[in-house]
């Protein structure tokens, strides 16, 4: 009797548990059905050839398998897209918007979320979500909760690049960088904020110089901002006179820094993708003696996401595309150094051995060391830092 009761209990629980799954499957089928024939305009940073080619590959796959067309719209800064969506909302364009999906994170995500410009929640309802490693910070974006409004796509970490023949012993902290710049005047720089690489560099220095790092996890306090960030400005005031062009001008973006590194005008460059240098060496844009390195105490890392605007025309197509981008096949290919090298957000234990092996591929120039990842400051720090930087150094 007891056995029968137990069996019935287990069976009923099992059947109840399988209903949400079946329900979810049915929902997803509706999405894929609706997505057929849609065109998804994917707005993404177009500054890297590798990324553009990867997205094209993904688009072709999605066309083959789900009959969804993907058009890559290359942008220079996600802020422009945020502005465009906002303008559309103000003009009353509540559907048929020009952006179907965008590559976003940080303060741009925050602006979108607080202004109600996003569609969702949808991120955790797509089938590929089951592979995501939820131990990684995939539900928080610069300390702002994602609430399922954006799906994690990959991770990034601030990494530095140098040439072995020129820089044998690289600086491994902010302080060491200043000493290095003083010994090599005019050969160190960073992209001009508000370019996101430049802003991240400044954030990195702030996290090293600030007295109480815990402040960074909370929203910025306007009243104490100047006092709290003073060590950073003191540092920059010391760095700029020995920086490239004496800190009176800055490279426009990290691609320009790579080019200057290749020609010897700069001795260090930086990137978010730990495998960027390897790609550039393979394309003969950097000499083969290039190598990547990080800071001993860690550099800022983050997760980057995919989001769908509230007025997107092809919401279902966008979800199907996002689902594919999060699938093991796509994530593994993305992490392949010879393709893009952007680390995956998936749980390695849920992948096959062959797939895991791809994560271990190495190529000349890629980052060989493992450095701690520092968390991003809260999104509100970005605007405050950029405004203050422009005020102090934006006009020379």
């Amino acid at each position: 009797m007891k056995k029968l009761l137990l069996a019935t209990a287990i069976m009923s629980i099992a059947s109840v548990a399988s209903i949400p799954l079946a329900h979810a499957d049915a929902k997803w089928d509706t999405v894929t059905d609706k997505a057929k024939g849609q065109t998804v305009y994917f707005n993404a940073w177009g500054g890297s050839d590798n990324i553009n080619k990867y997205v094209e590959w993904a688009g072709a796959e999605v066309k083959k398998r789900y009959d969804v067309n993907v058009e890559l719209v290359k942008i220079t800064d996600a802020g422009e897209v945020v502005k465009r969506i906002k303008t559309e909302k103000d003009a009353g364009r509540n559907n048929g918007g020009s952006v179907d999906m965008m590559w976003v994170n940080g303060e741009n995500f925050r602006t979108l979320k607080t202004n109600g410009l996003l569609f969702g929640p949808w991120a955790e309802s797509i089938p590929s979500w089951q592979f995501v490693d939820t131990n990684k910070p995939v539900r928080k974006d610069f300390s702002e909760t994602t609430d399922g409004l954006e799906a994690p796509w990959g991770t990034a970490q601030l990494t530095f690049i140098a040439d072995k023949n020129v820089v044998a012993e690289p600086p491994r902290s902010g302080k060491a960088l200043l000493a290095f710049a003083t010994k090599n005047p005019g050969r160190v720089s960073y992209p001009k904020p508000p370019n996101f690489h430049g802003t991240t560099f400044v954030k990195q220095l702030l996290s090293e110089m600030i007295e109480d790092p815990a402040l960074l996890t909370k929203p910025v306090d306007k009243d104490s901002f100047n006092k709290v960030s003073q060590p950073l400005w003191d540092y920059l005031d010391k760095l700029h006179p020995v920086a490239w062009r004496e800190g009176k001008a800055f490279p426009a973006n990290n691609a320009e820094m790579h080019q200057k590194l290749a020609d010897g005008e700069l001795k260090l460059s930086l990137t978010f993708n730990p495998n960027d240098a390897a790609n550039l060496v393979a394309k003969e844009q950097l000499p083969p003696t290039t190598y990547s390195f990080g800071f001993t105490n860690g550099t800022i890392g983050n997760v980057h996401f995919l989001a769908i605007p509230f007025n997107a025309k092809a919401k279902e197509g966008a979800q199907v595309f996002a689902n594919f981008l999060l699938s093991p096949e796509a994530q593994v290919r993305k992490a392949d150094i010879t393709v893009w090298g952007d680390p995956s957000v998936l749980d390695a234990s849920k992948l096959t051995t062959a797939q895991q092996a791809v994560f271990n591929k190495r190529a000349p120039g890629s980052l060989d060391e493992v450095n701690p990842t520092l968390a991003e400051p809260h999104a509100t720090w970005v605007e405050a830092l950029e405004a203050e930087w422009l005020k102090r150094y934006g006009s020379q």
Partner: protein, 539 residues
Amino acid sequence: MLKRTLPSLPACLAMLGIALTLAPLIPGLLWVLAPALNVDTWQALVQDNQFASALLSTLGSAVGSTLLALVCASLVTVMLYPGRGWLLVQRQLPVFLAFPHIAFAIGIAFLIAPSGWLARGLANLLEWSSPPQWISIRDPYAISLTLTMAIKETWFLLWIMATLLGEQAISRQITLANSLGYSRAQVWVSALFPQLLPRMGWPLVAVLAYSLSVVDMAVILGPSTPPTLAVLSWQWLTDPNEMTQAKGAAAALCLMLLLGLLILAGRGIWWGIKTLYKNPSGVRQRGLAFKSRRLFGLSVFVPGWLSLAILLLWSVAGGWFFPRLFPASLSLKSFSNADFEPMFTALWLGAATVMIALPLTLAWLEWGSRKHHGWLYAPLILPSLPIAAAQYHVLLAINLDSTAVGVIWSHLTWTFPYMLLVLVGPYYSFDTRYLCTAQALGHSRFSACLSIKWPMLIRPILAAMAVGFAVSVAQYLPTLFSGGGRFATVTTEAVALSAGGNRRVLAVQSLLQTALPLCAFMLAIGLTAWYARNRQGLK
């Protein structure tokens, strides 16, 4: 009793077409500039620490390049007109007029950057191992921007001068003034420039308006801390923050006001110069015998040839690092891997724009008012940034943003006036008796135009089409704004890649960008020759 005739159907269609093309800009501009009509915005603008420097560098580069271009074009004309050197100038001008300014700027950047070709030459001579700490491109005083714009504008002004000097009377005036005892240079200063300059008034305004509001060249060569006012305004207008957007609108309005002030100042200066010409003192100054006039005069094209050469070299280069003077290896990989889609996008956008602009232009010239057509040139003398922003707002309101129709419409705003400019001279001086004869033979006016007038004007019409196509290809801001980033043309690609590291891809896209208008011009010349192959009178 005279019967009032109603405008015919073609005339009505013409007016409608032109109204659709240009009229929506007016509400669009008001929309864009509305946030600027607020005292708080102006306060924020003036207090922004980037504003003052941006204003100065914009003013300096715009006035500087315009004046420099005027002086250079004048010098070349004085030195070379009307001999064989002048013919050489006229033969090379079309090539350099078709050379897109972005591609030219990119080539110049390749030449003079600290890791550029000139520096590498010096590095080889002086045995440097790293690039010098020069400040050449993106210098804080916008000198490299000014000089590069000046060169391109010199070519444009030379073309304007060549058109004005095409008349016989000018060379006779020179002979006459010479016979009165005045040397060559003095003849130009005292007798010819006072006649020519007033007729160059509007072209100079167009040049000034362009250099005040240029965004793409300023991004490539101009300063960045802070950028010029046009670039700053553009950055602000695309920022999500509302106050920043308002500052952007105010900055755009500021540019328009600046242009107005500069025009007034120019008029004032001209009025002052005229008083200097009263009561000529009759003093004849000895002329300088300038032996290498032709060499000096033609040197105005040297930067153009160098820029083109360096672009070609980079496009076929393998690995090429400082301080090598020539690439370590040559390969056509950059071409075979190149993305030709931006070129095709620019091609069909341009062709569509010209196909729509041509009937509009012809219809206006035929049935439009001769007195009022000056207004249609407005887009050429207004800063282009506010107009591009206005276009976006208009398209957004009628749901045509990010569509091909929207982008083509936005290109028409500049293509149409330029085609008008090229065609107006030959059109208005066309002998009306031909049309009269055709109509007397029983043809309607429209049919007579189609079969008689327009075929007779085939040469200027094809030239105007080539110019219109080149203008469309070169559009940057309108394609970006109205197309919502969906239409990547060679121009948008080149600017996007210009701050990047892959100079080979950049060189290939720049060359593709140059190839399009060049081919258009050659096609125009070829078609004219073919059409007129048995008809000497059309050549």
